[in-house]
Symmetry: C2
Subunit: 318 residues, 2 copies
C-alpha cells in the first residue's frame, strides 16, 4: 500500500443480505454492493469478489448475525454457532475472508457494529455507555459500556428476554422458536406479521402499534434498569414508523413511575433525547463494520484502546 491511502472493507452480514462496502482512510464509504444471503460458500465468495476489486485492502470488519463466537483466541473465533438459519450453524466467516484477502479481519455482532457506527458517526457520539436496539425481522441490542463493546460470556441476546404479556389484551403466544413469547417473539417484525397476518409496513391498525409500543417500552425500561445507558438508540425497519418512538417514550415514562428520579425517566423533554432514532438510518451497521476494520489499522493500537481514546477525546460530539 506504499504511496496510497489505506482502503478498509466492511461487511454487514445479515440473514437475508450482506451489505459490503469499502471506505477510505477517514472511514468515508466509497463503494457498496448488496449480496443475497444464500449458502455460506456462495455468500462469502460474493463478498470476496467485491472486496478483491478494491485491493489492496488494509483490514476488514464484519458485523454479523449470530450467535457468534467473539472470544479472542478461541479456536472458533468468528464462527456463527447455533443459528436456526439453514446451512449456517457452525460456520466460520472470518477465516475464509482472511485467507482469500490476506488481511486482518475483526468481527462483532451486527448490533454491536451498528452501535459502534452510531457512536463514531451518529446518535451516540460523545457518550461512553449506551445501547442500540434494532427492531426489524428480529430484535437485538448492541451496547458499549465505558466505551467498549459488551461481549462477556458470548454477547447480549436481548431480544430473548421475557416481558409481561397480558393474555387477554394479547392472546398471541409468540413467534420465537425457542421461547414463544419472549420480546422478539412478541414485538419483532416477524411476530407482527404472524399476529396480524400482514407485514408491519402494511399495518395501520392503531391497536397493533399501541401493543408494539407497550412491548418496546418494556424493552427500553429493562435496558435502562439493566445497563444504565446514557441513551437508547432504536433502529430497524419496524421502529422507523414515525409515530412509534413518541408512543414508546410516553409509555417508558409511565412504566418508570418516577423511579429513579433522573430526568430521562421523569421529564418528557429529557426522555425525547434519551430514546432516539439512529442518525445513520439504515447505514449504522455498515458504518460500524468499516469502523471495526479501521480499529485494526497499525496506528489505531488495540481495538479497545482506540475505542477508549475516541470516547475520551476525538469522537465527534452530537
Amino acid at each position: 500500500m506504499s504511496g496510497t491511502s489505506p482502503v478498509y472493507g466492511g461487511i454487514e452480514a445479515g440473514g437475508t443480505k450482506w451489505v459490503c462496502a469499502v471506505a477510505d482512510a477517514g472511514g468515508r464509504i466509497t463503494d457498496t454492493e448488496v449480496i443475497p444471503t444464500t449458502t455460506p460458500a456462495a455468500t462469502l465468495d460474493g463478498a470476496v469478489r467485491f472486496l478483491r476489486r478494491h485491493e489492496p485492502l488494509a483490514a476488514i470488519g464484519v458485523g454479523s448475525f449470530g450467535p457468534i463466537d467473539l472470544r479472542p483466541g478461541s479456536p472458533t473465533y468468528g464462527h456463527i454457532t447455533s443459528t436456526p438459519k439453514p446451512g449456517w450453524a457452525d460456520t466460520d466467516i472470518v477465516s475464509p475472508l482472511r485467507a482469500a484477502l490476506g488481511v486482518p479481519v475483526q468481527v462483532d455482532t451486527d448490533v454491536n457494529a451498528a452501535a459502534l457506527g452510531e457512536w463514531r458517526r451518529g446518535a451516540a457520539a460523545g457518550l461512553t455507555t449506551f445501547a442500540y436496539m434494532t427492531v426489524g425481522t428480529g430484535i437485538g441490542v448492541g451496547a458499549l459500556v465505558n466505551g467498549r463493546p459488551v461481549h462477556g460470556l458470548l454477547h447480549p441476546e436481548f431480544g430473548h428476554i421475557r416481558v409481561p404479556r397480558d393474555a387477554v389484551r394479547d392472546p398471541f403466544t409468540g413467534s420465537c422458536p425457542f421461547h414463544g413469547d419472549c420480546l422478539e417473539g412478541l414485538a419483532s417484525g416477524e411476530a407482527m406479521r404472524r399476529r396480524w397476518g400482514r407485514p408491519a409496513e402494511h399495518l395501520d391498525d392503531p391497536w397493533a402499534w399501541e401493543l408494539e409500543a407497550d412491548y418496546l417500552a418494556l424493552a427500553v425500561l429493562t435496558l435502562t434498569y439493566a445497563l444504565s445507558p446514557e441513551r437508547v438508540v432504536v433502529g430497524g425497519g419496524v421502529a422507523g414508523r414515525p409515530s412509534l418512538l413518541p408512543a414508546v417514550r410516553a409509555k417508558v415514562l409511565g412504566l418508570a413511575a418516577g423511579y429513579p428520579a433522573t430526568p430521562a425517566l421523569t421529564d418528557p423533554a429529557a426522555t425525547a433525547a434519551y430514546v432516539v432514532g439512529p442518525s445513520l438510518g439504515g447505514r449504522s451497521g455498515i458504518t460500524g463494520a468499516v469502523e471495526l476494520a479501521r480499529d485494526l489499522a497499525p496506528n489505531a493500537g488495540s481495538p479497545g484502546a482506540a475505542v477508549v481514546d475516541d470516547a475520551r477525546g476525538s469522537a465527534p460530539r452530537a
Copy 2:
C-alpha cells in the same frame, strides 16, 4: 503516614445498618463496627468516630444504598438522590466524610462494591464481565463489564425490571411502592414477607420457594441476555437458603430452552459454575468498599486503570 503502612477505611452503607471497617495495605480487614442507620447526621457521625480511631487513613471507600449520583465531577457526586427512605433523600454522604477525615473518598453502589469484593477476593476472580445480584430486603445488581463497574446514566436498578407474573399462580400484586409487581416487588425478602405474612427465614412452604426460584431464574436469564456476564453471583439473605440456587439453575436451563447453545445455558454442570453463591458470604460489600479505598492509593493510578490492570494480570484466580 511516613514510615507506617497505609490504612484504608471502608463503609458498607445500608438502609438498616452501616458496616464500617479498616484494612491494612493488602486489604486485610483489621477492625469493624456496625452502626444502625438512623438520621444521616447521626449515622455519618458514628462512622467518622470509628474511622478517627484509626487515623491516619489513606483513603475511604463507600458502597452505598441508592439511587446515588456517581458521575465524576457532578456537583451532587456522592449524593443519595430519590430514595424513599425517610430523611435520606438528597443526602451528601461523601463531603462530610472527606471534610471530617481529610482524605479522598470514592463511592459506588452497595452492589457494585459487593461485585468488586467478589471480583478481587471471591467468586468472580479472574473474570472481566460478570454480575452480582443480591436478594435480601430488596434486589439489586452490581456489574463489571470489561473489568470496570457499570454506571452510565446513573447505575443499574435491576431490581425494578418487569418480569412475567401469572396472576393465577401468584395473585400477589407486588410490594414495590413505585412499580408493584416488578422483580423486587415480587421476589425480595420484603415481597415474601408481605405475600406470605412471615419473613423468608421463617418460611418453609415449598410452594413459596418454588415461586421464588421462578422469579430469580427470570432475573438470571434477563441478566444473561442483557449483559452477557461470564458468571452470575447471587448473594443476600434470601438467596442464602441452600435449596434455592439449585432450583434457580434448573429453571434457568428450562427458560433458556437451549438458546444460545452455550454450555452455561445448556449443560447442568456448566450452569452450576455459572450461577453461584458469593465466596465472601456477607462480607462481599465491605470487602469491596475497602477495595474502592485502595483504588485511590497514589500507586494505584486512576481507579479505572487499576481495575483494568487487575483484570489482566494480578487478580487472584478462582
